[in-house]
Symmetry: C2
Subunit: 330 residues, 2 copies
């Protein structure tokens, strides 16, 4: 294993030290609880929007903390859910009395720990709601999941919910919008290579020189099938087709995320987007907004995922609203 | 070779199709000449700022096109200089009569072709200046260079020059500032893995499982030495020390770029930045601004580089000025 790390046990702590050093004017870091907190949180009267999960998916979630998106991101160990205590600390740090929304990717550990934290916070008088993102069409149930996994759609849910909270919506309003956005999201990914979890020290799985894993999860958990590498035009179709089979995307504008898994260069992601864009046009899907780049990664895995979110006017309005984070800014 | 491509010969064209599809409201693509042009170029009275070079370093240069930075980026084949004709077309597309600055990384082919284009444009009455960036302290002369190579410092030169042009400075003023910024930049990089040029089909070089290449170039050209992998704390010192030995950075505020080579995840880049930040503080270097992420890449190479730019008030003012590109936005 070759990585730019000091020790497998200090990867997350070292990265948080780096974030603290790089962004002192915009982020506060609670090193004990591994929280990345927006400098302006808690803000009186504003609903707090909190997310988190295992580390190794950066910029998700820490890169999405800031005005217009998350108030706090909770960092677990690499590919490991944060503890209920960490999430409770996030709720305590961010709540201003207006309540808090937890955005949770659908993994068994995350769902359990965020739920437990919500109950502990509720016992302290904090008004807590949660939305579970389960947008991956690749598999039902998996190594770490009952039901579908939460992947790229999370970025859109966090952006839209964060903007709604920023605009002064109530907890009920932010929650309803976040739920609607999560329900409208579908994703599918593929890997060209595995990643190596620092604590494991070796690749999670092996792929031959001409193989891809279609339907890969963001922790290297198995997908739908092993297939031969093919031109990106064909691979794009294998990502887009199951998404379109799962939900009708022809009757509303769509937000498209063409997301790198960490080790795939931008020049390839734009090549993929060209094909995705052509395929969607041919299917009568109208792309209203797009993002191309690394947003929900799996350490240094080579590969990509495509996310479609069927948007309504309110989602588009909050998608377009200003955001000021290290990972998204406009 | 496993890549998300259709064919090694279409990688650049496919990526430009993707950029055209993704950013129709902000970028114009000249597919014939492989130019990425800001939607607002040419702008009457504004000095045009143009850069370019071989592809495979994205977001450099195409990701830095937009208000406040570049007017045009010229894309060569992967790791191959664009032709004089391409650069001439860029000059013709961007010049509004106020002249144009060419920002050129110091590689023999780039320098020659940009110079020839400048002469052709001058013959058409376009006022052209150029600044060569040669910030890599690793080696003097190399496989593709007479003198030092141009690497991460290019981002800072493009940002500062682009902001000065945006503010209405004359060609002489923009050029002087860009030259001063280039002169104040020093960089050093390392690789954990090679990259694979699509047309070559196999890795440019081989590194053993416990080896790094210190002083790597952004095309996989050899660096200073092969060394054993070590904790990032030590590797950070091997990047920072030769930079500080080359120029005194203790008597002015410094812009620091902690740059990924493409295949290294953000969580590791922040870990590296934590160490760089500590080392610079211990050496009495005052970090005024920083960037952590993938800015000047080498396809999917795993590794990182550190760039320091000794800044004056004017550089900081233009660094802080608003920028609206796909790769940098504030």
């Amino acid at each position: 294993m070759k990585k730019l790390i000091n020790d497998p046990g200090t990867v997350v702590a070292d990265a948080l030290r780096g974030m603290a050093a790089a962004h002192p004017g915009t982020l506060k870091i609670d090193h004990a609880n591994r929280l990345v907190i927006s400098i302006d949180a808690p803000r009186p009267g504003k609903v707090a929007v909190i997310s988190g999960g295992g580390s190794g998916h950066e910029p998700l979630h820490s890169g999405f903390v800031g005005p217009g998106m998350l108030d706090v991101a909770v960092a677990g160990e690499v590919f490991t859910s944060p503890t209920p205590d960490q999430v409770l600390a996030a709720l305590q740090a961010a709540d201003s009395g207006a309540g808090a929304l937890l955005i949770v990717k659908n993994y068994t550990g995350d769902v359990m720990n965020f739920e437990m934290a919500g109950e502990l916070a509720a016992a302290e008088g904090i008004d807590v709601a949660s939305v579970i993102v389960a947008d991956d069409v690749a598999v039902t149930d998996s190594l770490y999941t009952a039901g579908r996994r939460g992947v790229g759609g999370t970025v859109v849910v966090e952006k839209v919910a964060g903007a709604a909270a920023q605009a002064g919506c109530t907890l009920a309003e932010v929650t309803a919008l976040a739920q609607r956005t999560a329900d409208a999201a579908r994703s599918m990914g593929l890997a060209l290579t595995s990643c190596t979890v620092p604590a494991a020290g070796r690749p999670t799985f092996d792929l031959a020189d001409d193989e891809i894993e279609l339907g890969i999860g963001i922790h290297g958990e198995p997908g739908r099938s092993r297939e031969q590498i093919a031109p990106v035009r064909e691979l794009a179709a294998r990502l887009v087709t199951p998404i379109l089979e799962d939900l009708d995307f022809t009757d509303a504008p769509v937000i498209v995320l063409c997301n790198g898994m960490g080790g795939t260069p931008l020049i390839e992601l734009y090549g993929l987007y060209a094909e995705v864009s052509d395929l969607l046009a041919a299917q009568g899907v109208q792309i209203a907004r797009n993002l191309v780049g690394n947003y929900v990664t799996s350490l240094e895995m080579a590969g990509a995922s495509v996310t479609l979110v069927k948007a309504d006017d309110e989602m588009l309005e909050y998608w377009d609203a200003p955001v000021s984070t290290t990972g998204l800014q406009w």
